[in-house]
Subunit: 336 residues, 2 copies
C-alpha cells in the first residue's frame, strides 16, 4: 500500500484518506480487533439498568496554542466532551496528559490549565487523573495535550452509521469552518486579520436536544476534515450517496472570504463546537426548529441521503453539481 | 514560588520536587479538587457488588524509542497496566494516543504498534479507543504516546499511603534501575555498551500475589525518580521516616558499574517492571517467599518505616547513614 510505505506525512494527520488508512492498517490491525475505528466513543461497561459507559480519547496540537475563542486547554476538553456527546452519552470524567516542551512559559501553562478547569466545570465533567511529561527543547511544539473521556449513555439511545437510510436529512447545528479559519488567522502568517472567533464549545446543549428527536440516526462533530469528511464517512459506511446543498450550509461571510483568498474549501475546515446529525426526513424540520428556538439560529438542513453509489455530491449555489473527494492533501495542518 | 516562575525545565518532568509542585500547583489547582495527585489510579465508578472501576493515564517519551527489552509501545502498555495493578485493580481496557512526527518511518511505527498489541494481549487488556496526531517535522521527538487504562478493583482491596504504619517493611520485587540504565546504554552517547535489558514488563503477576498477603498496605511502581522517589513520597505522606538498606536492595552489577562511571545513583533510576510494596512486619517474609517461589528471585526487603520525622535514610553498605534527598535535578531525562 503506497500510502503506508516510507514515512509519515502531515497528510496522515488531516482526517482524510491517508489518516484513515494509517489508523486502520497500522494501528487497528495491531490491536487485535477490539478497536472500532468508526466510533466516536467505544462501549466499555454496562450498568445493571442497561445504560452503557463509553470511552473516547483524543490528542490535541494547535498552533497557536491560544487563539480567539479558546486555547488548546479548552479545545481538549471540548473535543473529548463532544466525542462523548455525539455518541449520545453524558460526559462524566476526563483525564489529561500534557507533553510540555522545555522552556515553555509557566504563565501560559497556568492560563491553559485554568482554561481546562473552566471548560470541564462548564461541561459537567471532573478531571480525575492526569500526567505530565517534559520533552526537550525543540521536540515539542510548546504543548500537546491528550485527553480521555468517559460518559454514560442511556440504554434507549441507539445511534450509528448503520441506522442511516436513504431519504434521511443531514443537518448542521451552526456555521461551519469557524474554528479552522480563526486559527488560521491567529497564525498571522498570511498577513490577514479579522474578528472571527473559533466556535470551540461543548455541543452538549445541541446533542441533548437532538436526542429528544425520535428520528435521530447519527451524530458527529465535524472536526479534522470538516463537514465534507463526515459526509464522506457516511457515504462510505452506508454505500449511499450524500447530497449536500451549498446554499443551505451556513458559512460566515468572513470564513467564505478568507477561504476564497487562500484557496481553501470551508467544507473541509474544522469546527469544534458544531454537530452534524442525520435525522429521518419526517422529523428533520422539528430538529431544526428545536435548535433554532434554543438559540442555535444558524442550524439548517445541509443535505440528504440518496440512493446511488457511495459518493458525496455538492449541489452548488448556482445550481451545478460537483463531487467532493475524500481529503488527501492537507488544507490546513494542525488546527484541531 | 520560585520553582513555578519563568519557564518549564527538564527537572519539571523528572518525578521529583519540581514535577510535584508543577502538578500540584499548576494542574491540580486548576482542576477544581477532583484530582488526587497521590493516586496511581483514580476511582471512577462503583459496581452493584461494591467493586470499583479505576482509571489512570500516562504520557510516554523515551529516547531511543526502541531499546533492549522493549520499546515505547510496550512501555506505554506496561506503564498503564502497572499503574492499575499497583492500585490493586485488574486492568481491562486501554486507550492509546499517538503524536507522530512528520517524517517518522512507517516501518518503525508498525513495529511499535505491533508491540502495543502484543503487550496488551499479554496483560489481558483490550485497546478500545485511540487517536493519532501528526506534528510537524522538528516538533515531535519521533513519537509520543499517551495511554489511559481502566481496571476493576475488588471491594475488599484497601490500599493506600494512609494505611502505612511504623514498623512496616518496604519490599522490592526485583532489581532496580534496569530500565533507566538500559535506555541510557541504548543511547550510545557515553561510549558505553552492555547486554543489559530493560525490566519493562507487566507487574500483574507480582501484584496478584501480593494482594493475597493480608498485611499489604500499599504498592507503587518505581518509574520516574526510582525507588528513592517512592520512598520520599511515603515519608511525606506518612510523616514517618523511611529507612532503606543498601545491602539488601537488589541492583545488578552492570547497573551499579554504569552508575559508578556516570555518577548516577541507582536509587533514582527508573524501573518499569518492578513493584515497591509496603507490608506489615509480620507478613513481609511471607510476601518475599511467595514472590521468590514464583520466580521473582531477587525480591527482597528494601527497608522499613520508623518513627521519626518525614525523611528517607539510606543505611549504606559499609554501615553508615545518608539522607536521600527529594530529586531536584534530572539524573537521566526522558527514560520513562
Amino acid at each position: 500500500m503506497a500510502l503506508l510505505e516510507g514515512r509519515v506525512s502531515l497528510a496522515h494527520g488531516n482526517g482524510g484518506r491517508f489518516m484513515r488508512e494509517l489508523i486502520e492498517e497500522v494501528f487497528a490491525k495491531s490491536f487485535g480487533g477490539a478497536l472500532d475505528t468508526g466510533l466516536d466513543a467505544a462501549p466499555m461497561l454496562r450498568d445493571a439498568d442497561g445504560s452503557e459507559w463509553v470511552i473516547t480519547t483524543d490528542g490535541f496540537t494547535v498552533e497557536p496554542l491560544e487563539f480567539p475563542g479558546g486555547d488548546i486547554g479548552s479545545l481538549s476538553v471540548h473535543g473529548t466532551v463532544n466525542d462523548l456527546a455525539v455518541s449520545g452519552a453524558t460526559p462524566r470524567f476526563i483525564t489529561v496528559n500534557a507533553f510540555i516542551e522545555e522552556g515553555f512559559e509557566i504563565a501560559t501553562l497556568r492560563r491553559i490549565t485554568a482554561s481546562i478547569g473552566r471548560a470541564a466545570t462548564d461541561a459537567g465533567v471532573s478531571v480525575i487523573a492526569g500526567d505530565t511529561k517534559v520533552v526537550r527543547r525543540g521536540q515539542g511544539g510548546g504543548l500537546y495535550l491528550a485527553t480521555t473521556g468517559v460518559g454514560r449513555r442511556d440504554k434507549d439511545v441507539s445511534l450509528g452509521l448503520g441506522r442511516i437510510k436513504s431519504g434521511d436529512r443531514i443537518i448542521v447545528s451552526g456555521t461551519i469552518g469557524d474554528h479552522g479559519t480563526a486559527v488560521l488567522l491567529a497564525r498571522e502568517q498570511f498577513g490577514l486579520s479579522g474578528k472571527l472567533e473559533s466556535d470551540a464549545a461543548s455541543v452538549l446543549p445541541v446533542t441533548t436536544r437532538l436526542l429528544q428527536n425520535p428520528g435521530l440516526r447519527f451524530m458527529r462533530d465535524p472536526t479534522r476534515g470538516g463537514l465534507a469528511t463526515v459526509a464522506q464517512e457516511i457515504a462510505v459506511a452506508t454505500s449511499l450517496t450524500v447530497r449536500l446543498f451549498e446554499r443551505s450550509i451556513p458559512v460566515r461571510p468572513e470564513v467564505r472570504g478568507i477561504c476564497d483568498i487562500l484557496g481553501f474549501d470551508p467544507m473541509y475546515l474544522a469546527s469544534e463546537g458544531r454537530v452534524v446529525a442525520v435525522i429521518a426526513q419526517e422529523t428533520a424540520d422539528d430538529a431544526i426548529a428545536a435548535l433554532r428556538s434554543a438559540g442555535y439560529v444558524d442550524a439548517n438542513v445541509a443535505g440528504q441521503i440518496e440512493d446511488g453509489r457511495s459518493r458525496v455530491i455538492m449541489e452548488t449555489r448556482i445550481g451545478g453539481e460537483r463531487l467532493l473527494p475524500e481529503l488527501e492533501d492537507d488544507p490546513l495542518p494542525r488546527i484541531c
